[in-house]
Point group: C2
Chain length 360, copies 2
């Protein structure tokens, strides 16, 4: 192979999905001289309004996807629920990074957990597939209480989840799944949630940011703090192990539960840039958005060692109004997504704050 895998500035990067992640990917790509083309069912969403072009059609319109991808030098996505047929169509017309396999695994909790445990050989909580209330009853017996029932697909920010604390919860838990295929997971008594944002390039090189500690509020990420206390090496190693097993290209987020004894269990992976990596934008290193663009464009991954310890706080719904005070705070960086309408629970922006030097 003597092919130059490096995309030159001026090339067009296609992004499936037009929300804030696509917007920040586009802004980062623009810094490097790339043009971005956004595929989004809605017209002029957050990403399209900062990009050179947009295609407005449904995610399952494979003809529109093909026409879009033909026009791009590389295609990526900002969300993991791109329909499989559409992903395959895109991949047939342009390089698709991360690839179809990463999407396939990340779209289905059962496949994801099975892959991580059996192929990548990385610890996850015990789990069983559940397709009926009968299977649920049996799985609860096997795994013990408490445990968590989750839809296999389309869950995010705590949606599609039900915690079972007694056998009385079995019937309502199953009803909450609305007959969707589900997975029962052992409830893990973790002491904190941490994540690793890392990237793998087209020739297999990897780069990982320091360990992130995440705090959720109402099942939505509230803050990310970097560096998390303790040594992040083990978590970084596990994240890279999963990326390598997937022959992954791009940025991937791996969310972990950290047990009382310090051991790590993977909660889930996201085959994309991730909310818990937003702090990188103002940390004095290549940020996760540029890192993803570099990885999928075949560039060197660059320097991911932060210059600062950081605190990222999400601005949910009306919290975005706090820009007025935040704008006057030292070492504080505001990021707003240009969403026209604020709704309860909607991610409107985030704020990054320098909280110290890195390394300490």
């Amino acid at each position: 192979m003597t092919t130059d895998l490096t995309l030159a500035p001026g090339s067009t990067i296609g992004i499936l999905g037009g929300g804030q992640l696509g917007r920040m990917l586009s802004l980062a790509a623009s810094r490097l001289g790339f043009d971005c083309h956004i595929y989004d069912p809605s017209w002029a969403g957050p990403a399209a309004r900062v990009s050179a072009g947009q295609t407005n059609s449904a995610y399952d319109n494979v003809d529109a996807i093909r026409a879009f991808a033909k026009h791009c030098d590389v295609v990526t996505y900002e969300f993991e629920n791109v329909p499989a047929q559409s992903a395959k169509m895109a991949a047939s017309a342009a390089p698709l990074h991360p690839g179809v396999r990463a999407l396939d695994v990340a779209q289905d909790r059962l496949k994801e957990k099975t892959f991580i445990r059996d192929i990548a050989k990385v610890p996850v909580a015990n789990f069983e597939p559940v397709n009926s209330v009968h299977e649920l009853r049996r799985a609860v017996k096997h795994l013990g209480l408490p445990c968590v029932l989750k839809t296999r697909r389309f869950g995010y920010d705590g949606k599609g989840q039900y915690i079972l604390r007694s056998e009385d919860d079995i019937a309502p838990a199953w009803a909450a799944m609305k007959d969707a295929p589900a997975i029962l997971e052992q409830f893990v008594p973790f002491r904190r949630e941490v994540s690793v944002i890392a990237a793998r390039g087209v020739t297999g090189e990897t780069a990982a940011y320091p360990l992130v500690e995440n705090v959720h509020k109402n099942h939505i990420l509230h803050t990310s703090t970097v560096p998390a206390s303790g040594d992040g090496g083990a978590a970084q190693g596990l994240a890279i192990q999963i990326m390598s097993a997937l022959e992954y290209v791009g940025v991937m987020a791996t969310e972990f539960f950290e047990m009382e004894d310090g051991s790590l269990i993977v909660n889930e992976i996201a085959p994309r840039v991730h909310n818990s990596g937003h702090w990188t934008q103002d940390a004095g290193c290549v940020d996760q958005f540029e890192l993803h663009i570099r990885a999928i464009a075949g560039w060197p991954l660059g320097d991911v060692v932060p210059s600062h310890a950081m605190l990222m706080t999400n601005l949910i719904g009306d919290e975005a109004e706090s820009w007025r005070t935040l704008a006057d705070s030292p070492k504080t960086f505001i990021h707003l997504y240009g969403k026209k309408e604020s709704r309860e629970g909607r991610k409107m922006g985030h704020v990054n704050q320098i909280i110290g030097p890195y390394p300490a």
Copy 2:
């Protein structure tokens, strides 16, 4: 006055000019949740390709300018040669920042020098207006040799300038002006060139970055280093003096010659973001593009104290090809402008490097 001068995120910022400065202003505005609309005679230039809207028409088409400005919540510009009538038209349809007066002064070296010396009371080199070879001969007698003849308008990057070292240079110098109104300036034996990037807000508050030391190559800015050695307070004070005299709103660049004895003489001002402020993008503070947007949107100016000492190097013409090596360097940030065609002397991008802590 109880009017809230603060523009909310979601508002539309109009930018006259569609090159790299407009592009980086637009990217900064997007981070704060603003939409940008670009006015550019060319279709899909560097700025328009990262912005929500564009108007393509000539800069002297006052009807197009009015229609454009009516659609914007505030209008600004990336270059100082906006025709006076167009600026006035824009200002009649939307707030224009910086205002018509700043443009008027900055467009004409004679007005600029006179304003700075007589109104702002800030030192400049001795100068005289020159409208004929006869007046040039007389001015050379008054100011002495060497001296520099410059067109009053439209000069940049050393274009429209002629250094006179002997009386034999008078005839060719005047010929080089092609009958354009000119200004003769005493040649100043400076030891280095420094600049101040500063901003003034709608309510008169000011903010200034540390002093920048600039090195030119072939009359084009080559590097900016921050902080420049020595105390920048005097230069910052003079820059703010000029901004206050102009009742200026937005970011302004003031270029100085620093004499052997440390005293300062203003070379010129630019009523806009400036190449010698590009280092701010990766310095761990609000950058000059966001600072300008904050100022014209009535936001708090924010924190302009860098976290790092920085070196900015312009990538001119083919130098932009060095992105391949630069992308693999530590603490190095690449910015490319998305220009389709590289030409000799054309600014294609720049690179910012962290060279130490700030303060030292």
